[in-house]
Amino acid sequence: MRIAIFSDIHANREAFEACLEDSARRGAERIVLLGDLVGYGADPAWVVWRAMELASQGAIVIKGNHDEAAVTNRGGMNPDAAAAVEWTRHALDAEAKAFLKALPLEVEEEDRLFVHADPADPAKWNYILDAEDARRGLDGTHARVVLCGHVHVPALYGLTAAAKLVSFRPVAEVPIPLLRPRRWLAVLGAVGQPRDGDPAAAYSMLDEAANEITLLRVPYDAVTTAEKVRAAGLPPSLATRLLRGR
């Protein structure tokens, strides 16, 4: 089975649509949304609606910190993010909010764990930024393959029985075997707000039969998205960063 995994969509309709289309073309049979459906972008209502639709068709949808912030009062965000949260709250109706509120923090399926941030303690929203974080994250769970987002920069970490850890920056379109019995933690790139210097939307395809994960990049109409962000009165830096991928 091919599982398309989308993380950090951040209310970016154009990027999300482009990625969904690309994944369908590549034969995705299952969809996982790894959290942060909203925040930063100008289309939260549409993205949540689409997520609800996908969920009703069997997609797994995980909660991210921005999804949580949109429905509860929670501090600890930078000013741009906080402004976006405030804006997002007004843009969502009660049904959308109820959907976001009910999302799980993690879902385990066979040997895989889907979670938005650090798998060791998902509610703390810690970032997996390096090999040490990855090791702690893997130590805190028993799944063989952990898939998370939150960082907006793709990375892959592998752990052997001897507790040796490899870290690797995946190359787009190149399938990487998730060798057994090693354990792996994949940090996915962001669909809606990439920060690795490549403005193209990022998602990943997990091929269950081949036991491989592939990072994919999809160029989308970021100019339109940025325009919408500006028109919505959101902080302008949230528009420009989409064009630069930073």
Binding site: V166, S167, R180
Partner: protein, 473 residues
Amino acid sequence: MSPLTLAEGEELDGFRIGRRVHTGGMAALWEASHPNYDFPILVKIPRLAEGEDPAAIVSFEMEQMILPRLSGPHVPRFVAAGGFDRRPYLAMERIPGPSLLPLVQNVPLPIAEVVAIGARVADALEALHRQHVVHLDVKPSNILTRPTGEAVLVDFGLSHHAQLPDLMEEEFRLPYGTAPYMAPEQVMGRRSDPRSDLFALGTLLYFFITRERPHGDPQTMSGLKRRLWRDPHPPKRFRRDCPDWLQEVILRCLEVQPERRHPTAAQLAYDLRHPEGVVLTARARKTKQDGWSKTIQRRFHPDHQPRFDRAPKAAEYAALAPIVAVAVDVTERDTAVHSALRETVGRILATLPGARLACLNVLRQNRIALDSTLDESGRNKHLQRLVELRHWALPLGLPEGRVTFHVLEAVNPAAAILEHARKNAVDHIVIGARARSLRRRMLGSVSSEVAAEAPCSVTVVRSRSTVAVGEAA
């Protein structure tokens, strides 16, 4: 029975296991067959018993990742694999015939034989490097030969794939490789430079012509590191008849700094196939090792110790250091085409400092009679063409090492250019479009045939005015 051993006659995932053909430090090899495959198969089983080298596991994982991603005649075809979750094995095409190892019994070998082997192995390395892989264990036992003549590289257990996680690098601090063949940067733990394989091939060529290994077979880390500061005896010391050009090529492969070796395996193969184009430096005529003062300086003076910077990734090399071939019709009298061609070539070379240029001219042979190589005035046509080619290239102002000249004698010019491009892994052909349309109509367009059939990019150059004249005719 242990899941890690096999017995003749056993069946494993549909493979009928035959004779055990080899037991190495890290794995055992068995002949096998499978009803779905009509070629002979080899099954590789890692040695994972208690007390075995843990590198056996990791190197098996590496090979399991890399082999399925490789293709072409220079590697064994991947068939199937089983992981550690069940029963680890790797099934691949079995290349009949021996490796280069038995040749070691007969070294030193004739110069021509060693050069031919070197060119074939360099072709195989080029194919591998273009697929993002550095082999890192090039040695006689890892080189096989297809019945059709291509060298085949085997055993990717120590290899590095630029687009996959390097499990070996993370797992072990000590360098893995085979002591005599390991490049200095590999000794220092750097596993990503394709030119490490050129060092290994240089070692092999040196060994095959001299019976000596340039850096011996050290068994300790300090012995391995000696190659960073002690230069080898020049091959001529052991082999008086080693031509200057070959010593030049071998010592260039054995340079400590990868930047001083050939930039790509394709360029090394080119040198081995075109000795006349090899530029001789001080390396060519060396008769003894560097003196002690120089050696001591290299060993102890911080400014003289080699530094290994980050290398471009394997497949980036070809892009940075391509072989560009320009086909020049020196009989063409239209100077506009000549200068347009030269301008285009100049622009390509200006952006690629590692590129080298092969200037080609085809001396047409008669279909029926054997041509006399002397024309009416008694001058050798072939030589005359060479002179004209050099004259054409002169304004480019290229240093000798970057340009070679070739007059190809052939009935069909396009076929000759294409064959040269295929044999020498040319990356880009630049060719002028023939000016006079009447002649083109009668002889066919060489450039369009080349463009249609070439294994690489082709740039067809025209000068605007020529086109206008041609079309008016």
